[in-house]
Subunit: 424 residues, 2 copies
């Protein structure tokens, strides 16, 4: 039985980690369309060339390499090469390198796929410009207006950043891949959360990407001298925020599921002086669930609780919904394939949602798409000390290989729809 | 019966408001030792001159004017002329102008005091350099070390700011007034809080200045992705702060009094991103009470609650006590005098603590000292829309006049000690 080679995988991940590596904080700085990002993409094309694959960079900056016939829909293995600032070495990279290793393993075992296997390193997945450019381009979820206006935090426009590296943003709209050109889509990623590591489980079979809403909330009371204003005469905006935040566990118990998340990540008091009762507090609410109905229930409960607490504390509140992204569901037949292969390999696995966004989410409504995780030690990601044990990397890649070869080599491989939603 | 003249008072307050007035935000910018501050002090000396008073500026920048004999202990009327940035027109100024008006009223009614009446505009009360320079100098609460090291928020050193306006900081240590040179100390101030205005009471007879402690607290958890970290696997530093803040009312109910205040005025989340569970939260706790025992109980309860909540949320916490200022108590005989005069004038009054610091606090352990308030509309102060009705200004000044003339003109005027603490 063909085995993937962990030494080659480690070599490749290490090689890519050099692009944008910062010796000081030991973090990876390979933001989309940076010099380091483009160098990593060129490195990948060199590997495709060595393996005799047909390769290209499309108008959105996606780098793809094909192994197998040109005239049939492809089994796509994709993830990204760009990183957040001070990121880790596995995030995204694993899915691309595992794809390369699948090709090499097929080649050294003399396996010729009936369907082409295509490895894609998508561009700008980490959202430097506020989207997932590569995956959106491939699935037709881009507009000219967005391309022309998107900018990063420093005000650099996407179109200028693309021009800088020789890409014409108009061409991003040519990167669209019609659904009939894709047989299946697979992504392997590190979990970036603590669940698999804490539960000592090897594989997370992802059922979907949680939907997410983001609110900017402003509580408005009255700034007062912290000494002269008696407790019962205050309109303390911070205490409004505090009373709301205190209710979050109850809101989830009553309205949510074990897949719900509500997070306050940012709080700013005005004027923010120790001796002044805060007259105004701005804070963010980010809510998630795998069910859009549940998301709506959570959002409604947040509004209800904010409203009641504002009344109680003599405050006003206002909020702006900055975004509402609906959940995306992985294909049940692909999930069933991943499960059956994990069972066959005797890897422990669990069905779970993904709380983080991934390239796969744009492919969910476009083709039969699946995503699975390997454990992140202590759940750490987007940080220099992101780590996944090499033995888990090896298992994840082996599982990817099993799925890919079945999808690419056998005509009606486990592509029988299974309605997982009905099973649960 | 001699009456103070509200037109003269209004004229003077308006005249002083011009020094450092900003047309744009209509706030007063007369920070200690600024050009505007020194100009206001010179204006005051001109008034003293006109009234034939003996006047001087001491080494700390305090401007004083004496009416009456030089060889007896003085009845001191004091407050300050400096302001916070964007301050109001009454804060401090009222006490100085009311003192001037007392002298004028005595003069026009042909009253010659047996004891000198001294009006002092203290320097740098608002704490640009972190203290109350003038009052500390007068009461011997200064050190050479502090004078040499104190600096404002921009890093300007006190000694340089003083040199700039022609003052030698060494001379501040010569400003000390031996207790036997002061017969009594009186301060009239706007409340800077909402109590009198809300309760429609004219006069607040201050029993003491609340003690205050200030802590910088750090809650330390673990930064996590707000999507991938399940609610029960988080160590959310913000939720630790939130649970603590939620307990503040209970802490006061159980350990404090109606004079207790606990305020969180500043909160900073790290990293402070909407999609990241806060791994660290810095916040301030400022606690106050009129009893130092109660302050200790409140502080101990805060520590206990922080500790329990940290355990519950898998957090660590640390705190630094930035300051602990003990309460200061007004003299019961002076309080009794103010009360009796308020009763005689048929002004409504209430006994209350001062949550804000005032010049008087340094005189409390130095001489027989008293402070009383007139209402601040909506409790607003340290802001351009600080306001006190002219009729309340008039009543406060009349009451000051009654107290001062009794203390200065009659040998054993109500200076009989009354132990108010025992009455309460």
């Amino acid at each position: 039985m063909p085995q993937v080679n962990i030494e080659r995988i480690e070599h490749d991940i290490t090689a890519i980690s050099k692009f944008g590596f910062n010796e000081e904080d030991r973090g990876v700085y390979r933001q989309g369309f940076s010099e380091a990002d483009m160098a990593a993409r060129q490195w990948l094309r060199d590997q495709f060339e060595t393996l005799g694959m047909v390769h290209e960079i499309d108008g959105a900056g996606n780098v793809s390499g094909r192994f197998g016939p040109a005239d049939k829909p492809a089994v796509v293995i994709a993830s990204h090469l760009d990183s957040v600032p001070a990121g880790g070495i596995f995030d995204g990279v694993l899915g691309v390198v595992a794809g390369l290793e699948c090709i090499r393993t097929m080649q050294e075992n003399g396996i010729t796929p009936a369907y082409p296997v295509e490895v894609i390193a998508t561009s700008e997945e980490e959202g430097r410009f506020g989207g997932m450019l590569g995956a959106q381009a491939l699935t037709g979820r881009l507009t000219l207006e967005w391309l022309e206006n998107a900018a990063d935090e420093r005000g650099v426009r996407l179109k200028d950043a693309m021009a800088e590296v020789g890409l014409d943003y108009h061409k991003a709209l040519h990167a669209y891949r019609r659904p009939e050109t894709i047989r299946a889509f697979l992504e392997l990623h590190v979990e970036q959360g603590p669940v698999l590591d804490m539960e000592k489980t090897t594989i997370g079979v992802v059922e979907g990407i949680s939907g997410v809403f983001k609110w900017m909330v402003r509580m408005i009371g009255k700034a007062d001298h912290a000494g002269t204003a008696p407790m019962d005469m205050r309109a303390d905006a911070l205490m409004g925020m505090v009373d709301f935040a205190h209710e979050i566990p109850r809101i989830i118990d009553e309205e949510g599921t074990d897949k719900s998340r509500i997070t306050i990540g940012h709080v700013a008091c005005k004027p923010g002086f120790p001796h002044t009762v805060p007259g105004e507090v701005d804070f963010t609410i980010v809510g998630r669930d795998l069910s859009e109905d549940k998301m709506r229930s959570l959002a409604e409960a947040c509004e209800r609780v904010l409203s009641a607490i504002a009344r109680k504390h003599k405050l006003h509140f206002e909020y702006e919904q900055m975004s509402w992204l609906e959940p995306a569901y992985c294909d049940p037949s692909i999930m069933a394939l991943i499960e059956s292969k994990a069972k066959a390999l005797d890897y422990s696995y669990k069905i779970m949602p993904s709380g983080a966004g991934h390239d796969v989410q744009f492919f969910c409504n476009h083709t039969k798409a699946g995503l699975f995780f390997v454990p992140s030690v202590h759940g750490i990601s987007h940080a220099p000390d992101e780590w996944t044990h090499w033995s888990d990397i090896e298992r994840g890649t082996q599982l990817l290989y099993e799925c890919v070869t079945e999808l690419a080599c056998e005509e009606n491989a486990s592509m029988v729809p299974v309605d997982r939603a009905l099973q649960d």
